[in-house]
């Protein structure tokens, strides 16, 4: 019922459409850059563009005020801006890919169990080793996310139903629920874990240092490359397995590659920010609405949209409940969901 989605891509693929899509991509990129600039300026202490510029590039000076600005920009604003862009990009691309590979329009990056795996790893290492610093458990979160993804995909690959989208979705649900229950069991018997879990669950890009962000970015970069490689095959897969096979697609190989890409993207993003639900799902649908079903366009759009949305939500979260902050993950859901519902209600999404 889902793969009728592709039928418009061929007649649409003319020169005009291509130009329109390329312009759209450029517009999104510019919007992202603007949002990034705003993100550097907005916060508990608002900075002027000149101050931001100074904070970014000026040499250290004895002037007390300028040194302070430098400190805010370079150690607080820049890391969270970079992380929001990188993680948003990863979750957007991951969401679009997982919907394509499962042919399920309600599939989310959380489907592979990566969120649940990361959460479980976090509470487990806090309960066992007593870690309190996020920089200690982010690596375990990534390993947990990766392992969960591998287990889900492994279970879904056994036997006849291998690569079947439904099998993958159900295996993901099974593992997710299992891990979530174990997480709760640990959290309920260890107060320290429970405390960490509630903050981790909110999903935030604040307070993460570059020594965490760079490695995470590395994993995400690998994931993005894999994602781009698999896009043409993904287009063919959405014509149906039989057609794709007839056209020479190695179905098992391209599915494996795609799932590995999603696991890397979602796992790394989740490890660094905590589970940010709904972002990937939402931007994938918006991207499909903007570009049509051609994944070579859809996926880049989804990535840029994901980065932009996460960044804007982080900025909004810094402003709305002053002097406190609302976590980006919470804002994503609170702002994104009604927007999404309006689009659905206006009939913008066909049952793909």
């Amino acid at each position: 019922m889902i793969n009728t989605a592709v039928d418009r891509s061929v007649p649409d693929g003319g020169k005009d459409t291509r130009r329109r899509r390329a312009v759209g991509l450029a517009v999104l990129t510019v919007a992202l850059l603007v949002a990034a600039t705003v993100s550097l300026a907005v916060g508990a202490r608002a900075l002027s563009p000149a101050e931001v510029w100074h904070g970014l590039f000026a040499e250290p000076e004895p002037d007390q005020k300028l040194t302070e600005i430098r400190l805010i920009v370079q150690t607080v604003r820049v890391p969270r801006t970079v992380l929001a862009i990188v993680a948003g990009l990863a979750l957007g691309v991951g969401g679009a890919l997982i919907q394509g590979y499962t042919r399920n329009p309600i599939a989310d990056t959380g489907l592979l169990g990566v969120n649940a795996g990361a959460s479980f790893a976090v509470v487990a290492v806090i309960a066992v080793f007593g870690f309190t610093d996020p920089f200690q458990y982010v690596w375990f979160a990534f390993v947990g996310a990766g392992l969960a993804g591998v287990v889900v995909f492994g279970l879904a690959s056994i036997g006849r139903g291998a690569g079947n989208p439904l099998t993958l979705a159900l295996a993901g649900q099974g593992v997710t629920v299992f891990l979530a229950a174990m997480t709760t069991a640990v959290a309920l018997s260890d107060k320290e874990s429970l405390n960490a879990l509630r903050f981790w669950n909110a999903g935030s890009v604040a307070g993460v240092r570059f020594d965490v962000i760079w490695p995470v970015t590395g994993f995400i970069a690998v994931g993005l490359v894999l994602a781009l490689i698999t896009l043409p095959a993904l287009n063919l897969l959405n014509l149906g397995d039989d057609v794709a096979r007839a056209l020479g697609v190695n179905i098992a190989a391209s599915r494996t590659l795609g799932i590995v890409a999603v696991t890397l993207l979602a796992g790394a993003a989740t490890a660094a920010c905590g589970p940010i639900a709904f972002l990937g799902l939402m931007v994938a649908h918006v991207a499909r609405y903007l570009t049509g079903p051609d994944y070579r366009w859809l996926v880049p759009y989804a990535g840029l949209l994901g980065a932009g949305v996460l960044l804007v939500c982080d900025i909004v979260g810094r402003v709305v409940v002053r002097p406190g902050e609302l976590e980006a993950g919470v804002v994503v859901a609170l702002l994104g969901a009604p927007f999404f519902a309006v689009l659905v209600w206006r009939g913008k999404f066909k049952s793909a």
Partner: protein, 359 residues
């Protein structure tokens, strides 16, 4: 995909079971489905009795059954009927309600991932309950513990479910749109819950977390009675509406061909599913997974193309009471039943999946 469906259809036609007509009721005699359902019901009753017999003061299975039938000793009478029955019955009722609710949702949406959880019911109930627990703090604990919390959760779940339903309404309810709207509303409710948890006192967080995972602790007859009758009435409504309309899963085109009433039937069924889930969640908290897994398990055990309603309810009850039994009798620390339903249900779903794939 089409090819296999056509093949399956031909096969089914070759071995089509005979139709049966008893007065105004007509149905197709499916011995395997009936057998599976009966076995499941017997198993559920057995576990129900077992659940009552286990505790600080163990009572033999035969004495439990005698007491239930009204021929027990006065001492057993007190322990069985007053102390343990509410909890076991709550498990039974909630399990059936969630199982049937899940079966309806999955049939109507034609998506095995659809469950009351995705329609916002559990998330809405959770948000309201957590608000009550964290915002009112310890002062209102007495009220929220017994009466206020289930009632508020019921209203929250119901309100959210209806909100999803009306938001998805646009000249009829389309399964796909329903799911998408449900996901968005669920996301909002979960975000609110998360925010409440982040800004709350850690002691309240622990209490909220127990409720959020689903628990059957300290059930009273008052709560169970409400849930029991509500579930019974809703099941009767479902039966009256659902059974004349088998081709639920055939899709919108067939539905259109069958006329306008089909759309109305589907709406009524969905409403029943929302109400059932809300009743279940209000009585036990958002026990995870029962509504999702019970229909899938029932489908596979019964070798049925869509979730069979009665069998799904029975599997739900079996899952919930069995998990509660494990939580109380086999685990060292007192964990809420929801932890066990998930720990048991998740791998079981995966096992069924792998086994089906290996065959």
């Amino acid at each position: 995909m089409n090819g296999s469906e056509v093949a399956g259809g031909a096969e089914a036609k070759a071995s089509m079971p005979p139709g049966v007509r008893l007065g105004w009721v007509s149905f197709v005699w499916r011995p395997w489905l009936v057998l599976v359902t009966l076995v499941l019901a017997a198993a559920a009753f057995l576990v129900f009795c077992l659940s009552i017999s286990v505790g600080d003061f163990p009572i033999g299975l035969s004495r439990v059954i005698a007491t239930i039938l009204g021929r027990g000793e006065p001492v057993d009478e007190f322990v069985v009927m007053d102390l343990r029955m509410p909890r076991a019955l709550a498990g039974l009722v909630v399990g059936v309600a969630l199982g049937v609710s899940g079966a309806i949702t999955q049939s109507v949406a034609r998506n095995p991932l659809a469950s009351p959880d995705i329609l916002g019911i559990t998330a809405g109930a959770g948000a309201v309950a957590v608000f009550l627990v964290t915002a009112t703090g310890g002062a209102a604990a007495a009220i929220t513990g017994s009466v206020g919390l289930p009632a508020a959760a019921l209203l929250g779940g119901l309100g959210t479910g209806l909100l999803v339903y009306f938001l998805a309404w646009r000249r009829g309810v389309d399964g796909f749109r329903l799911i998408l709207i449900g996901i968005s509303v669920t996301a909002v409710m979960q975000a609110i819950t998360t925010w409440l948890l982040v800004s709350a006192d850690i002691r309240d967080v622990a209490r909220a977390q127990v409720w959020l995972v689903g628990s059957l602790d300290n059930r009273s007859w008052d709560e169970v009675r409400v849930a029991f009758w509500a579930t019974l009435v809703l099941l009767a409504a479902v039966a009256a509406v659902a059974f004349p309309f088998k081709p639920m899963h055939l899709g919108d085109d067939v539905a259109a061909g069958l006329g306008v009433r089909f759309g109305r039937v589907r709406a009524v069924l969905l409403l029943c599913a929302v109400l059932l889930a809300a009743v279940g969640v209000s009585a036990a908290g958002p026990v995870p997974f029962v509504a999702l897994v019970a229909p899938q398990v029932a489908m596979r055990l019964a070798r049925w193309p869509t979730p069979p309603l009665i069998a799904s309810g029975t599997v739900g009850a079996l899952l919930l009471i069995g998990s509660d039994l494990i939580a109380r009798a086999a685990l060292p620390i007192g964990l809420p039943v929801g932890v066990v339903t998930a720990v048991v249900g998740g791998p079981f779903l995966v096992y069924l999946l792998v086994r089906a794939n290996l065959r």
